[in-house]
């Protein structure tokens, strides 16, 4: 066992990379949940995004096109969910599960011919002077553009929810859809948009796994990250900046256990691999005492009956 082989600066840098897929998926789900929709299909949308992004990036040779395709793929699957829950008024929990089961199968089907292929490299930002600074350079300026985009997205969602009229309407719909409807807001339309945004973000997160983090395509490669993202939204009590904090926490655990595996710690690999899931449960237990922050209309079906 050689713990000194673990370089703290590299550890933090790779932590930020490991956190990005969870962050992307969670910020999208946060917007959907703030509009009052519980979409349990994050895992399915992520894996669909992962495969769409991978296939398009390989075929076109451009990772950027890949990410665009991933967002479209995630949103397309989310549209199915939106049709089920907003138009056909189906149970959101069941529809989300259906989305995940369907997405896992669909992604395996699309990705059949792409196992073992390397995707085009997604270059890190190469900033001349800043990137060469000793520790800070690698930490702050040496990442790929998507990672910064993810953080910018968190800031954007925060600002939108807090300062804009659109954010206020979104929150109103999520807190009390009947009142929002009475005021003349199109509840269903707003929710569909929020669901699509969530799907696109989850797709981006999935593509980040298959194009940057791993990078290759294997069946079921998201391995529960979508579910961890769902837990993260609860953990963050539906607040954007806390999602960032939580994502880094989970990224840190993932990276740390991988480093411990590599360093040959006397704990069996399987038990180390369990740790992100066990920690998720522990965090949920600690934080679930306070439910007051949940959007009041979360998971409830809206039908303008009267």
């Amino acid at each position: 066992m050689d713990l000194s082989a673990i370089n703290p600066a590299l550890l933090i840098a790779s932590l930020m990379v490991a956190a990005t897929p969870i962050l992307l998926a969670a910020i999208g789900e946060l917007v959907a949940e703030r509009s009052g929709v519980l979409n349990l299909g994050v895992e399915g949308m992520m894996i669909t995004g992962a495969v769409c992004g991978f296939v398009i990036a390989v075929e076109s040779g451009s990772p950027w096109l890949g990410f665009a395709g991933a967002a479209a793929g995630g949103a397309a699957l989310a549209l199915l969910f939106a049709l089920l829950t907003q138009v056909a008024l189906a149970n959101q929990v069941a529809s989300g599960l259906a989305l995940t089961l369907f997405g896992l199968g669909l992604s395996a089907l699309i990705g059949q011919g792409y196992v073992g292929i390397k995707p085009p490299r997604f270059a890190r930002l190469d900033i001349p002077v800043l990137g060469d600074l000793p520790v800070v350079g690698r930490l702050l300026f040496g990442h790929d553009p998507m990672l910064y985009l993810a953080i910018a997205l968190v800031a954007g969602v925060w600002a939108l929810l807090r300062f804009s009229r659109a954010g206020l309407i979104l929150r109103a719909v999520g807190e009390n859809h009947d009142a929002a409807h009475a005021l003349g807001y199109k509840v269903v339309r707003i929710r569909i948009l929020a669901i699509l945004f969530g799907g696109a973000c989850a797709g981006l997160g999935g593509a980040y796994i298959s194009l940057v983090r791993v990078p290759q395509w294997t069946e079921g490669m998201t391995a529960g990250v979508g579910w961890i993202a769902l837990a993260l939204v609860v953990f963050a009590s539906w607040k954007p900046w806390r999602v960032l904090l939580g994502a880094w926490l989970f990224g840190g655990i993932t990276v740390l256990q991988l480093n411990l595996q590599a360093a040959g710690v006397a704990i069996p690999v399987e038990y180390l691999a369990m740790s992100p899931y066990v920690v998720t449960i522990l965090v949920l237990v600690i934080l679930s005492a306070d439910k007051s922050r949940a959007p009041a209309a979360l998971g409830r079906i809206f039908h303008a009956s009267q």
Binding site: L97, G105, L106, L230, M274, Y277, T280, H303
Partner: protein, 360 residues
């Protein structure tokens, strides 16, 4: 303009018709999917739904229907109790694994002793294993209000790692030449869950599945507890006024679901599968969610839905071998089934009316 009108009571007729319509719609769109994949859709659908029952090699496939259907029905019955009361256990896959590990663990602890009491002990251990695994989300929900959906699902990944650890370590076959996986229980007579009538696929798991259907039917229709479960699902506030204790219901529903999933895993590991290995679980716990919904959360419906999904498993394997249909296509097919069912359920709960647009 098309308007949806909420029905005062869900329509009974549509409730029965929607699963059938969903299956037909899935066949249609599944056929389209197969056509896109370059297969003859009619041939593919016939291979999946007809060949296992009446095809030239049906005598080989029919027993498989029981083998695949039993775990699906067992798990789905357990899940349906919770789903009815809005308690969402989606970690049956994990409970299935832990039940199998507990059952196999008991058997391997006694190896090579031959005695009548080993198999019953394994059954108890399997049920207890699944029950204990389901008690984690149940207790956390009751005590801390933790979301049972997320916890039960996280525990699936934990159980999968546990399975890997066990088949590489504690339960590994000492005479297995270093290969991962336990001793084969099919070769250990006291622990073998053999066919009760040779070559019919009728093993103890099938018996347990049938018993669970009857048990669930009586519970839901003739017992106060079953009434409380239904009441909590339909009207949680009314249930509280009627004196239903939610905590007890959560413990009961999750616990029963876990025990049944554990039993399914134990019957599988001691029978059809034979050994604990890394790839022991094949997703029955997740497919059972589809079975539960397709069966309208009704015990008899679940029995039929379990048979149908078992058919898609077997037919899918045949289509894979004969037509080169990818395994994932069947998974998509099963997912599609749930989609159509949920979408068509609109007709059960709402009335679709054409109405002239009025001036507001």
């Amino acid at each position: 303009m098309i308007v949806l009108e909420k029905r005062p009571q869900p329509s009974r007729g549509w409730a029965l018709a929607t699963p059938v319509l969903a299956v037909l719609a899935t066949m249609l769109f599944g056929g389209l999917l197969f056509a896109v994949l370059g297969k003859n859709p009619v041939e593919a659908i016939a291979t999946i739904f007809y060949d296992p029952l009446f095809g030239p090699h049906a005598s080989y496939y029919r027993p498989q229907l029981l083998v695949k259907g039993a775990p699906l029905v067992l798990i789905a019955i357990g899940l349906s109790l919770g789903f009815k009361a809005n308690i969402w256990n989606i970690g049956a896959e994990g409970q299935y694994i832990v039940g199998a590990l507990a059952g196999a663990g008991v058997a391997l602890a006694f190896y090579p002793l031959e005695a009548w009491f080993i198999f019953p002990l394994m059954v108890i251990a399997g049920a207890l294993g699944g029950w204990a695994w389901a008690m984690i989300p149940a207790l956390l929900k009751v005590r801390f209000g933790t979301n049972e959906i997320l916890v039960s699902l996280m525990l699936v990944y934990v159980a999968e790692q546990l399975l890997a650890s066990m088949s590489l370590g504690l339960l590994k076959n000492p005479q297995g030449m270093g290969f991962p996986g336990s001793r084969n229980l099919q070769q250990y007579e006291s622990a073998h869950n053999a066919d009760l009538i040779a070559n019919t696929g009728m093993h103890w798991g099938v018996v347990a599945a049938l018993i669970s259907v009857i048990f669930a039917y009586i519970l839901l229709n003739r017992h106060m507890l079953g009434f409380h479960i239904r009441l909590t699902g339909d009207a949680p506030r009314a249930a509280r006024f009627a004196g239903v204790r939610p905590a007890r219901l959560i413990l009961f529903c999750l616990g029963t679901g876990g025990a049944l999933a554990g039993l399914a895993g134990m019957f599988e590991v001691s029978g059809p599968s034979g050994q604990v290995s890394i790839d022991f679980n094949v997703g029955y716990g997740f497919t059972a969610i589809i079975v539960a919904f397709l069966g309208r959360l009704h015990p008899v419906g679940i029995l039929l839905a379990g048979a149908l999904l078992a058919l898609t498993y077997i037919g899918g394997e045949i289509a894979q071998a004969q037509l080169g249909l990818p395994a994932a296509a069947i998974q998509v097919f099963q997912g599609m089934l749930l989609f159509f069912l949920l979408a068509l359920d609109l007709l059960t709960n709402y009335r679709v009316r054409m109405r002239k647009t009025e001036v507001a």
